[in-house]
Amino acid sequence: MTLFKRPLKAFLSPAANILVTVFLLSVFFIASQNVVQTFAVADIAALNNLQPQPTDYILELSIHQAAPDKNKIHCYVDYYEHLLRVFPNLGDAYGMLGYCYHYLNDDPKAIGFLKMAIEHDPDYFWNYYNLAAIYLNESRYQEAFGSLQKALNVPPMASLKSMFTSPMVYLPLLGPDEKKVLPYTVKHLKESYQSSFVLLQILNQTGNNKGSIEVMKKIKPELYAF
């Protein structure tokens, strides 16, 4: 029997077979590479499916101080951790992870993430404030003092800008109606600047005043996402 004017046996020779082997290996190698290259797209697609629900839970937790539900907070952690896998330089996600880990009773992790958030975005008041709040809860007054000082140095408008120009982290949490949440966020930011200033004054006296230390021990500030 002949194929393309050559005996079929020629196609079964070791040389021809080696060629086929190389061809098959190349085809599967290229196919595998092509599939592996689409893993990055799959990672992004996963973000859609990881989006925590209900989306307004953090807003409820931050505004109305709703009871922390660890299961729901875990879902947010999973989402932000995956978000960082896809976009490693997203400072806002580090900040939210710090916030969430505090409510999961893992303050060492929360501190680590908040510090990273500050590294990535030094112009967001709440990261400094939350870091200071954790330090105060742990009676680490000197570090709390430093953090509050930095918080007060952040221009309020810069914080608002960070918040409302964060399409992947803060904006989805604030909900679709920006006008509805803007008054609250501005009011809350103003109040928190004031309370930070008061805290800073009390902390300033803790070094030489026992009464101030007693006062500080009673203060257990909450953390806020915005």
């Binding site: 079964l12 070791p14 077979n17 080696i18 086929v20 082997t21 098959l24 290996l25 085809v27 599967f28 196919a31 595998s32 599939v35 592996v36 689409t38 893993f39 797209v41 799959a42 990672d43 697609a45 996963a46 973000l47 859609n48 499916n49 990881l50 629900q53 209900p54 299961n71 729901k72 875990h74 879902c75 952690v77 999973d78 951790e81 995956h82």
Partner: protein, 379 residues
């Protein structure tokens, strides 16, 4: 190397334990979703066994066997779902619920895969068994429904049992499986109404093969059909519509495997006598073809539904996945055996079949990653 019954059993037992542990790890990492929550709350936690058996449940699906088993496990663990499901949550995290609610499904899927492993170890070789297990483990259906408190893993297990029992007499004629098949058909009828297709196919195959009386065949067919029909019509029948034919179909059967089946069928049946290869495994081709046709029929039937209540999901085709896994493994065993005489051809065939499994594995990993099914942290 082929193993005897006891050795195969021990090996499969080991595989089962590994798969079971894997299933628990997967359960921890997968959130509960609407359907699982609804079934647990509307049926398992609130309805009695008699309600379930008489189909007095608000569920659209009729899966009494699944509900009963789920309720048994819930009773053993004195488990009631602590999460209040109000219908507006798509995914809910509760690790104990995730694990307990999915214990039966995890056992079903692990048993199905271990049974496949046993079948290939017992009748072929350990290499074929490992290969068949890999073929199963790269199937997206396995990963999508392994850790899910829904009837699909039970359907997958019963289909696997049905196919193994159907194959045994062809491979080892001394083994009688008719009675076991009858029992499997009863369980299938109690698991999914759509199992009427596979029950009919199995009876058709038994009839064609011969050796079973018409009376017995009628019983094996009629009783399960009656049960499935009764459950189907006893409560409200929801209309479902197929929106996408091929994406649904290709969840159940891998397109690249269809190509292999065509090549396999050509070599085994169509080519001139000179090139034809005989094998004990080609008996599975018509079985697979009938399963495939029934799936296409099911999809086409729902393609023209008007005023539907729900969309058609590929999970209703899960019974095709074990047939596809079995077909691809049996065809691969044959193709490799046929090419064994020539080292190079054998190597190339092995690379081709192995390559298909590896690429499919990567694609399944990508799809499961995109669905974010197991991306939730367990702690």
């Amino acid at each position: 190397m082929r193993f005897d019954h006891l050795k195969s059993l021990y090996l499969s037992g080991g595989v089962f334990v590994i798969l079971l542990v894997t299933g628990f790890l997967l359960s921890e990492r997968k959130l509960l979703w609407t359907d699982e929550l609804y079934t647990q709350q509307a049926v398992i936690d609130t309805r009695s066994y008699s309600d379930i058996l008489t189909s007095r449940t608000p569920e659209g699906n009729k899966n009494p066997l699944f509900y009963v088993m789920q309720k048994v496990v819930s009773n053993i663990y004195s488990y009631h779902m602590p999460v209040y499901f109000s219908g507006d949550f798509y995914r809910t995290r509760d690790i104990p619920s995730q694990v307990i609610m999915r214990i039966p499904s995890n056992i079903y899927m692990s048993l199905a895969l271990a049974l496949l492993f046993y079948f290939f170890t017992r009748f072929f070789s350990i290499l074929a068994a490992v290969y068949a297990l890999s073929v199963a483990l790269v199937s997206p259906m396995v990963w999508m429904y392994w850790a899910e408190a829904r009837p699909y893993p039970l359907w997958f297990l019963l289909t696997t049992v049905q196919l193994v029992l159907l194959c045994c007499p062809f491979i080892a004629p001394k083994i009688k499986t008719t009675n076991k098949l009858f029992l499997t058909h009863i369980f299938l009828a109690l698991t999914a109404s759509a199992s009427i297709f596979q029950i009919s196919i199995a009876v058709l195959v038994l009839w064609r093969r011969g050796g079973v009386s018409i009376k017995k065949l009628a019983l094996i067919w009629a009783l399960p059909m009656g049960i499935a029909g009764a459950y189907y019509f006893i409560s409200k029948v929801f209309k479902i519509k197929t929106y996408m034919f091929f994406p649904n179909l290709f969840d159940g059967v891998m397109p690249e495997r269809l190509f292999v089946y065509v090549v396999y069928a050509l070599i085994a049946w169509v080519l001139p006598e000179k090139y034809k290869r005989s094998s004990n495994n080609t008996f599975f081709l018509p079985i697979f073809f009938l399963f495939f046709t029934s799936v296409c029929f099911l999809l086409s039937m729902n393609l023209y539904t008007k005023n539907s209540d729900f969309g058609f999901f590929s999970r209703y085709l899960i019974y095709l996945a074990p047939a596809d896994i079995m077909m691809f493994s049996l065809a691969s065993v044959d193709l490799r055996r046929w090419s064994r005489q020539n080292f190079w051809i054998c190597l190339n065939v092995s690379i081709f079949l192995g390559g298909l499994v590896i690429v499919r594995g990567l694609m399944t990993y990508r799809d499961i990653l995109a669905a974010a099914t197991y991306l939730h942290s367990p702690s």
